[in-house]
């Protein structure tokens, strides 16, 4: 691989020029006016896969934006890796806050600035170029590769979810591991593999008091006020130790394993710095757990929105008819979303007094996941990133959900390697999105080393 590594290092500037071309295509999936650009971008990706030596490159039409596929299956008896990424990007608004144009990439201070630089063009391009470099230097790959680059990730991957459920497509995508670079490094220059995501159960509850808005002077004192009652109800969803009071909520929660606890200690998370960064005097959460444990291994219940009565500037003396809260729970293995939804519903109903009516609505959700880090592919990825970055690879979990990861694991029965290369500070989904050139370079090497390590 040393030849390949040398070749990659020599070609970084060329790769960056090609990445710039990729970034110039405004492939915004959410806005209909970019439909042609999305199409153009899918053709660009297909071209790059062909140039990298992929066979059977195909653009799959969908109800919305095309999926790009390509494969090289010449390594008999070797594992197959499915590399997933997305070529669509978030809208660039608000444009006026960008220092350089979102679709005119610019390199400043060792970073490339453009919409999609990190999320996800920069990160998926790494793997296309790594594969190309190996192919050019070795005439083949040490293992089998399939690429699947979609155009709807930023709008929830509706077509890919359908695509994955089809039997023939499942066969097409069959693999031993899925490789995704679409998350973050734990810190700059620290090789990172993410192995856990929380799930979600998102609910809405609406309380109704009197059947119409009333004057709070003329009627205040006679009726239960749905805002006051909603506040009481929400206040009862946690106990004084910050634990969720829903019966059986913690019953199926998997405790963090010993290796995880050790791992969390190793990460030396700086709670004081974290609190300062977000402007709070004190962090807060379930008693008895560190912040990392709370974020990654413990389920939570948060109000995501609340409204009722008069919500504009100034004052209006209304005793409102209704008050609504959006409440979501982050789940961890082995909590079952359906059970949690049922227990939540029963619990909030039991907390509702006779003086108001309650409506409970299930909005959406997703399963939590922990990826088995002892899997051969994950171990190989850890060795590869460690070699590329020159440091021990750290294992992290993430408090949020990435639904497509759960789908891959469910439909393809393969572990997912989350080899994130971004940084949380790189403004994805915001103005001035960027990607560190150092991460781009180390990502290329991580990818090259991964093919070698996993083929061993």
């Amino acid at each position: 691989m040393e030849t390949v590594v040398k070749y990659v290092k020599e070609n970084i500037d060329n790769y960056l020029e090609e990445l710039k071309e990729y970034l110039r295509i405004p492939s915004v999936s959410a806005l209909p006016e970019y439909k042609e650009d999305i199409k153009k971008c899918s053709e660009f990706v297909a071209g790059k896969l062909k140039a990298a030596g992929m066979k059977k490159v195909k653009i799959f039409k969908t109800d919305k934006h095309p999926l790009v596929y390509g494969e090289w299956l010449g390594a008999k008896d070797k594992p197959t890796v499915l590399i997933y990424g997305h070529y669509d990007v978030q809208p660039a608004d608000p444009i006026e806050l960008w220092k350089s144009q979102p679709f005119e990439p610019e390199i400043r201070n060792g970073k490339i600035y453009a919409r999609g630089a990190n999320d996800n063009k920069g990160q998926n391009f790494v793997h296309i170029k790594a594969v190309e470099a190996i192919m050019k230097n070795s005439g083949g790959l040490p293992l089998n590769v399939k690429f699947l680059i979609e155009g709807e990730e930023e709008i929830g991957s509706p077509s890919l979810e359908t695509f994955l459920k089809n039997k023939e497509n499942k066969k097409l995508l069959k693999c031993d591991a899925v490789l995704i670079s679409d998350t973050s490094l734990y810190a700059k220059g620290v090789p990172t593999l993410n192995y856990g995501l929380r799930g979600l159960a998102y609910m809405e509850i609406e309380l109704t008091g009197p059947n119409r808005d009333l004057h709070s002077g003329s009627f205040g004192g006679a009726f239960a006020n749905p805002i006051n009652e909603l506040a009481k109800l929400i206040s009862k969803l946690h106990d004084k130790n910050g634990r969720v009071t829903i019966p059986n909520f913690y019953k199926d929660v998997q405790k963090a394993a010993k290796f995880e606890k050790d791992n969390f200690k190793k990460l030396k998370f700086d709670e004081a710095k974290f609190a300062r960064e977000y402007g709070v005097k004190e962090l807060y959460g379930e008693k008895g757990y560190s912040t990392l444990e709370r974020l990654w291994t413990r389920p939570t219940l948060d109000c995501n929105g609340i409204y009722g009565g008069y919500t504009e500037e100034g004052a209006k003396t209304v005793l409102p008819s209704k008050a609504t809260a959006k409440i979501s729970m982050r789940l961890v293995p082995n909590q079952d979303m359906k059970t949690i939804v049922k227990e939540f519903t029963k619990h909030v109903k039991s907390l509702t007094p006779n003086s108001v009516k309650i409506k409970v609505r299930e909005m959406h959700g997703g399963a939590p996941v922990v990826i088995p880090i002892e899997h051969r592919a994950i171990r190989a990825a850890a060795r590869a990133t460690s070699r590329a970055f020159g440091k021990e690879t750290v294992f992290t979990r993430e408090g949020g959900s990435i639904p497509i990861v759960v789908e891959f694991m469910k439909e393809l029965k393969s572990p997912v390697i989350l080899m994130g290369l971004g940084l949380d500070s790189e403004n994805i989904h915001s103005p001035n999105e960027h990607f560190h050139l150092d991460s781009f370079k180390k990502g290329l090497l991580s990818s090259v080393y991964f093919f070698e390590e996993y083929s061993k």
Copy 2:
């Protein structure tokens, strides 16, 4: 007075035609496009006062909409009554919900429909016509009368408040009692005098957690969520008996007098019917008090509005930076607004944990009032309305505030007679506002009898 009464009864149809003219003028004080109509309406009122035999009729210009004044002071050694009303009306929106046009009065089923029919043109016109009838038949009045009809009541009477503070104007308005018909009958056909109004202290509190909106997946569990914390705080503002927990909140509350308790019993308030009408299974309020007592004699604390995080359709997984609640307290004699504001502020601050910041803002307020019902003018009004309606007059209080009543009592040192003629069901401030012709007729008689009774 029997001649006058006969004359009034014979002229009802003429009065209604004149009232229709009054109602056709769209004197909406809140909207600048009606400025000319407001002016026209003030001239209409001035004309009617002149026609009723008032002297020194004058239209006072103000910063916004004119005040109309007129007087007849020919009854030496007799009391002077200031009759207050307002010729401005609420906007008519939403127009599409009106069955007939808001500014084209229509009589249907014994009711006159138009914006202002009840609030307040119909109710103040009663007194102008009663005075006119006495003047025409007797060549004078049995007591002295001053009229003050303003054009800014629906926007909070800012000019009148300033006007009342001026020394010369105070002299002009000097009187023994103020007569206002701008409230409601206890029930259809039941003569009613209102003798108490609650005051108000309206506050806004804002809690801030992290200094920006965060992803509730990636960050949920690490920070105090300002919505959850606001809910906890609000839930602590009442105890389990529905009593407000603010220290000293009840300290200065005047207990309902014996005569009031008897009076409330006499009113035979139907709690079950009331609950049914507003669609609730159960009424709710401070333990140990009847609904009427809670509404009229007890202070309350109600959330009038709440908002934070995502408040649109659907779901967004945000851990919000801020949550805000609008909270108002209805006050009763002898609670002091300033003291209550101070105690509220101290209390909510003491309930705020270190993990969030709180901002408390005082919005507006007003003093509570109880009018001495043993006053000669009130007794006269009770006899007059009783004669007009052929029933015993009931005494009520009201849970809301009418700031101008407090101002009159403070600035003119005169009791206010609240001789309401409307009904709560007559849709004031809503589409299809109306006024019962029966109330109009009995109001005219009440006014005529009042001049006789009070002059005795």
